[in-house]
Amino acid sequence: MKDALGAPQSLLILGGTSEIALHTARKLVAERVRRVVLAGRPSGALDAAAEDLRGRGAQVEVVAFDAAEPETHEKIVDEVFAGGDIDVVLLAFGVLGDQESDEQDPVAAAQVAQVNYVGGVSAGLSSVKALRRQGHGSLAVISSVAAERARKANFIYGSSKAGLDAFAQGLADKVHGTGIHVMVVRPGFVKTKMTEGMPDGPMATTPDVVADGIIKGLRRNATTVWVPGPLRFVFSALRHVPRPIFRKLPI
């Protein structure tokens, strides 16, 4: 249960090694979060993340979760909720893919959509079903500014996030008024292992700043969070650029 000041006590991360998610978790553990569940593909990194959070005073559970296996999601999520209330679910998994080579490898490209969009649909619905049963809680879905408009430079990833983003918006409206809160997070370029080795994009930011944005959004039950905030205006402008011009933009 969140307290009167909006501080949650328990957190489920889907994509348990995500840097953005782990920055968020550390900050929340420094406040009131005591129970953290890291759901992800089993790895040394996942265990290390759990250890780190334990060192900060949280009780941490690790559960095996693969976004690419939607048929398993409901059971996994239900088991987590059976172990106690979850105040916040952070849907953080995602893959960037490699646009150039994926264009030549349709199966690899479809895998990006499979994880980011299809996995998001089943994991998102599973989470909301469980949240509704407990009568309170938030689901934060990490989308991307790339969802705003597909660009030729990364439309495979962008379209998968566009699907996820539209799904999450619809879901938010569907559960409005039921005590459940669904929030879409749209970060710009964030310096994490996902973008390692890539040149910084415009207005590049850090996972720490994104974490602050997520926490603030959760506190005021925001529907959409942009990080950094001004990207909202940049992208709503880009959205209206005519196609012939947009096509030629170096982005």
């Binding site: 249960m1 307290d3 009167a4 501080a7 006590q9 407990q134 009568g135 309170h136 008024g177 039921t178």
Partner: protein, 462 residues
């Protein structure tokens, strides 16, 4: 032990978002409004693994009377008086009856409720669940000290009549047990005899906190009802300046002759309702500073024997309905703590911190408690209790409250569960040393944790 309620017709529940009086942290539950014991029993049988909790008039500030995903029993339709011994002032009432109603019904017969919180819009069930206290705590203890018996619906569906002598464990686990032992269906309450419905009030204004504490320590023995209102925004020399009011129900011979004919007259009612439109930041440092200044100036330096009505003396806030809406959408919280006698320094430090933070506490009330009762989770114990109101959007509030927590804990103090909406679960056992005993009693009568609330989950109470 008697038989459980027979299969009853089940009133339809509505999925409803509920909050406490502070209007923070909502959750959605199936709210059922039973009118009979049988219906309470039927609702209990329909529970899911999310359990059941009773709710009175929802005057707790946080989340003890809500139960996300489960069933919430709105007890306010069970509001009948079952029996009244007007000779001795012993009444048997259903748990959903309000203190307002009890006062309205029995003052004309010369009986007042034994203990009244700052609002009379609370139910008998809620008064037991939180073991509420009033301005007479130092003299008369808390509400459950005046409960002679109660009928409690247990998790297994049976109803047990619980008395302090017959089943002290269950009685004192239920007194202040925040609804977690079962559903109080009815209670036998010893009312307090009065000769008139007027209170003879003495008022004093003090320059600062020390003067207030000194005066209160001195006057407590002389009056049944005492309380101090504190100006928390005053700084420096005026830190903690207060208005102290002390009262006693007037004897018949203290009334002017022409009033004696209707000495026990009492009329409940309100003056106004706050609309649900307030933008959010009405009570702030500036408006509250002004309000506090006026309140302080308005009070007489020293005045004795002023006759006041029950509402003016006990429940001035009840004149305005839904006054919690003044705080707008973001809501507010109350912070009430106690520190034992001898820890006056801690109290001073707390007031200093609040004043320095410029946090606009509108209703700051200081009171001395007398001895506590055996209630496992009952709040009062001998010492000073300070009650503060803060809008949740007060800048720096999280830090301020955290500092106050530390101060309270390190001075052997505790916080009141009926006001809690944010305490750190890790602090609970230190504040309530008998928590483990409470849990043991509860584990016996409710091994599966059927009775559960958002607060119980948040704090790991049960």
């Amino acid at each position: 032990m008697s038989d459980g309620p027979a299969a009853g017709f089940f009133p339809a529940g509505r999925r409803t978002a509920l909050t406490g009086w502070g209007r923070t942290a909502p959750s959605v539950a199936e709210v059922v409004t039973p009118m009979t014991r049988e219906q309470v029993g039927a609702a209990l049988r329909r529970r899911t693994e999310r359990g059941v909790i009773a709710r009175g008039l929802g005057r707790s500030y946080g989340d003890p009377a809500q139960n996300g995903g489960g069933i919430v029993l709105d007890m306010t339709a069970m509001n009948r008086v079952l029996d009244a011994d007007l000779e001795n002032g012993v009444v048997t009432v259903e748990a959903g009856v309000s203190l307002d109603r009890l006062i309205e019904l029995f003052v004309p017969f010369g009986f007042f409720v034994p203990v009244s919180p700052g609002t009379r819009q609370v139910t008998v069930g809620g008064a037991i669940g939180a073991d509420v206290h009033g301005k007479n705590h130092h003299a008369k203890g808390s509400f459950c000290d005046h409960v002679l018996a109660m009928d409690l619906l247990l998790a297994d569906g049976t109803v047990r009549t619980v008395t302090p002598d017959g089943d002290p464990d269950l009685f004192w686990a239920t007194a202040g047990g925040m609804g977690l032992t079962g559903i109080v269906l009815s209670a036998v309450v010893q009312m307090t005899p009065i000769e008139t419905s007027l209170v003879s009030v003495d008022t004093d204004r003090t320059r600062d906190l020390d003067e207030a504490m000194a005066l209160m320590a001195e006057t407590d023995e002389k009056y049944t009802y005492t309380v101090a209102w504190l100006d928390c925004l005053a700084k420096g020399r005026n830190l903690g300046r207060s208005v102290i009011t002390c009262g006693e129900f007037a004897r018949l011979d203290e009334l002017p002759a022409k009033k004696r004919g209707r000495a026990l007259r009492f009329k409940s009612g309100t003056l106004a309702t706050i609309p649900d439109l307030v933008p959010g930041r009405l009570p702030n440092k500036f408006t509250m500073g002004l309000f506090n200044e006026l309140w302080y100036r308005k009070a007489p330096q020293h005045k004795v024997g002023q006759l006041q009505g029950i509402t003016a003396f006990f429940h001035p806030l009840d004149l305005v309905q839904e006054w919690n809406r003044v705080y707008g959408k973001t809501g507010f919280l109350q912070y009430q703590f106690i520190v034992p006698f001898g820890r006056e320094d801690a109290l001073r430090q707390a007031v200093e911190k609040i004043s320095a933070a410029g946090a606009p506490s509108s209703l700051t009330v200081l009171k001395r408690f007398g001895p506590g009762n055996p209630g496992y989770l009952s709040f009062p114990k001998p010492g000073w209790t300070l009650t503060l109101d803060f809008p949740t959007n007060t800048p720096g509030l999280v830090r301020l409250l955290h500092q106050l927590d530390e101060l309270v804990l390190s001075n052997d103090g505790r916080m009141y569960l009926a006001k809690d909406s944010r305490m750190d679960p890790a602090d609970l056992a230190r504040m309530y040393p008998r928590l483990e005993e409470f849990r043991n009693v509860r584990a016996k009568v409710d091994p599966d944790g059927v009775f559960v609330s958002d607060q119980a989950r948040r704090l790991g109470l049960a």
